[in-house]
Symmetry: C2
DNA sequence: CAATCAGTTCGAAAAAAATCGAACATTGAA
DNA sequence: TTCAATGTTCGATTTTTTTCGAACTGATTG
């Protein structure tokens, strides 16, 4: 299950596909900005652990993040070295988009006068 | 129908979501590298015109491409100015990934000895 | 005006992705 | 060894996306 692609196998389309989801973008941003973290500390909303596990898998298989297993804890980190060689600018793009969490599907229009 | 977001409304996650599809990545690469084009000239595989229209819509609504309607023809272009201000480096990322068309889901393993 | 061309929209079907709870590992601790 | 903690995997369900053909729209052409 440590099924992670090597640097040369990482595809931009697949990386974009992985990052094109608000939860996964949050995780990637979190790891890119603060370094290695245990996945229980990811600040995603209320999702089940199996769902989180799934999103982590998508990021891992796309080549965005890297696991390090220490005992019963799994630490993840952004694949900074590999990605900055293969796709220079990608990490900055993620870091500079402070819009993390803002995605078309997560925008809600609250209409105050709408009281049905 | 000219439902295109203005520059400040373009979300990186939504852009990544749009580009995280091999057909749409092809279209974006095509436009980013060669400028304005009529959509009938996109070199995507055999897809119906309604499917192509759908993919164009996703790219347009994400803010990746821009339409210009001239008579009965629709010309599209990559939103170079807006995107390079909002997400510097994104266009180069797309241009430098000559892997266009290579995506996990489009890789086929041909086994020569498999003659059933 | 009728026909054609270029493309969008609609409706339905198929495929893919997201989500969850339950069951399953594996590690570390009592 | 038994239990709890930290995940992953499985199976099912729901939701979203992709895809197509048919019908539609708007502009040009005969």
């Amino acid at each position: 299950m440590p099924n992670i692609p090597n640097s040369s196998e990482i595809s931009l389309t697949t990386v974009f596909n992985a990052l094109g989801d608000p939860i996964r973008m949050k995780i990637a941003y979190c790891l890119a900005s603060t370094g290695e973290k245990n996945c229980s500390t990811f600040e995603v909303g209320h999702i089940s652990k199996s769902t989180l596990s799934h999103h982590i898998k998508v990021l891992r298989e796309a080549g965005v993040i890297q696991p390090r297993i220490a005992g019963k804890q799994h630490f993840y980190s952004f694949r900074k070295e590999d990605l900055s060689i293969r796709f220079p600018g990608l990490m900055d793009l993620i870091l500079n988009s402070a819009e993390v969490g803002i995605h078309k599907s997560s925008i809600q229009v609250i209409n105050i006068s709408d009281h049905n």
